[in-house]
Amino acid sequence: MMEFEKVVGIVEAALLTADGPMQVKELAGLFNSEEMDDKDSPRVIKECLVELEKKCESRSIELKRVASGYRFQVKQEYSEWVGRMLKERPPRYTRALLETLAIIVYKQPVTRGDIEELRGVSVSQNIMRTLSERGWIKIVGQKEVPGRPSLYATTKVFLDYFDLKSLNELPEISEIQELVLKEAQTVENMIVQDLDLEQTPGNGISLAQSPDEKVSESNDEQSNVVNLPVNQ
């Protein structure tokens, strides 16, 4: 049998050089039966992972478990400086793409028709293509309706990319709205307060205006004072 210290070192070395997250099973597979007892291996590997997690405390990296296994990644507090170093600009995603993704995340499995129904607009080929190319979504079957449209669902690649172990880590869709609305109201209140402060007598701003109100200073018949567009 191999010394525990050495096993930890090997697991660390593997995780540091692996291309993507590794599962306990895969890590155990690195050792032959002389090095590690097969039936003990899951327990030993897990002990290694705990040990590595502890060692990370004094480092700038952390051991993280995501959907497809364990991986080392830079701690959030150092990410700013690493970002300065990167040559590749991270891709940005449009609202249309994010909304489509959100529907697939929360309503899966869904057809393209379902997505269009929910968003009230047609979904561009490009969005579905980008999501497929990134490996974030996949076809999981066909809906048993005329035309048998494909049903889409998210993948482990999606979870790994967004640093998630499972979809359960995401808030319920109804909770998000409450969070967002609360925030929006606070901002709204702040703006209203702002306006109140500036509403000094003399040049006050009225939130309601009667339609027959005359505009002072514009006695000139020629002047065009235009309110656009109307809703009273």
Binding site: L101, N227, N231
Partner: protein, 262 residues
């Protein structure tokens, strides 16, 4: 003149057509409509702007506002996606159906107003979820993986395998990105229109309630800032907080605070 055909008030008098000499660039209005992800998004904006709960929407009022916007766009010959027009038809239908007494047979069907409310609620949930996903820490942007040099390995390590399809897919992604850069594309921005409304009003107050149009659109402003400023201006006009004043055709437009003291 019927209320519905009014597109603007001039000096307090309703007019059905925009004055030809007031230059609101149609391009800017096009940008305005492009800020929305579709008719549901525009409707939601109209509802939220009034600070009312979706459950309490008044179909007649919302329909009117929505159709005002659509008419304005059409009068400026801005091409709207078919979905916007379809929604206008749906809204009108709901409005008229609500005027009719309900017969027993109708109970089988979903109340059209409830259906609209459900769609708006669902869409708002999706919109919020999309915002939440955008904020999640993610690879490439917030999370950085390690790249440590491997030790020298004696055994033969198989070369990285590449499928030709992967190369083609990569190329298609490049092409699409290049396309995206060249086309007119509105990015997801967090700059708030309301914020900008507040700052325009602040500026106005500091300058005795009178500003030149150009003061809000200085050259050094970014494109997004100009758009947001423009939207804020539209919104202030719509809420009758400011007026645009032009003393003669083609002269400079001024923005003035609407004076509420009489």
């Amino acid at each position: 003149m019927s209320e519905d055909s009014v597109v603007a008030h001039v000096g307090g008098n309703p007019v059905a057509e925009l004055p030809k000499d007031l230059h609101i660039p149609p391009e800017a209005l096009r940008v305005f409509i492009e800020l929305f992800e579709g008719p549901l998004d525009l409707l939601l904006y109209l509802v939220r702007r009034q600070n009312i709960d979706i459950l309490e929407i008044e179909v007649a009022e919302i329909t009117k506002q929505y159709i005002d916007y659509i008419n304005l766009m059409e009068s400026l010959e801005i091409d709207l996606a078919g979905e916007y027009l379809a929604m206008a038809a749906t809204l009108t239908e709901i409005k008229s159906r609500m005027l009719l007494p309900r017969t027993g047979e109708d109970e089988e069907e979903e109340d059209p107003k409830e259906e609209l409310i459900r769609r708006l609620q669902e869409y708002e949930e999706i919109k919020c979820a999309a915002g939440m996903i955008e904020e999640l820490p993610r690879l490439e942007r917030d999370i950085h993986l390690l790249s440590v040099e491997k030790p020298v390995i004696d055994e033969d390590i198989p070369e990285v395998e590449v499928d030709l399809k992967e190369v083609l897919i990569a190329f298609s992604a490049v092409l699409r990105r290049a396309e995206m850069f060249s086309k007119h594309q509105v990015e997801y921005e967090t700059l708030s229109v309301r914020d900008s409304m507040a700052s325009i009003l602040t500026k106005l107050n500091l300058q005795d309630g009178y500003l030149s149009f150009h003061d809000l659109f200085e050259a050094e402003y970014g494109r997004m800032e100009i758009i947001v400023n423009f939207l804020a201006l539209m919104e202030l006009l719509r809420e009758s907080l400011i007026d645009l004043v032009q003393t003669e055709a083609y002269s400079e437009i001024h923005i003035k605070v609407v004076n509420s003291d009489r």
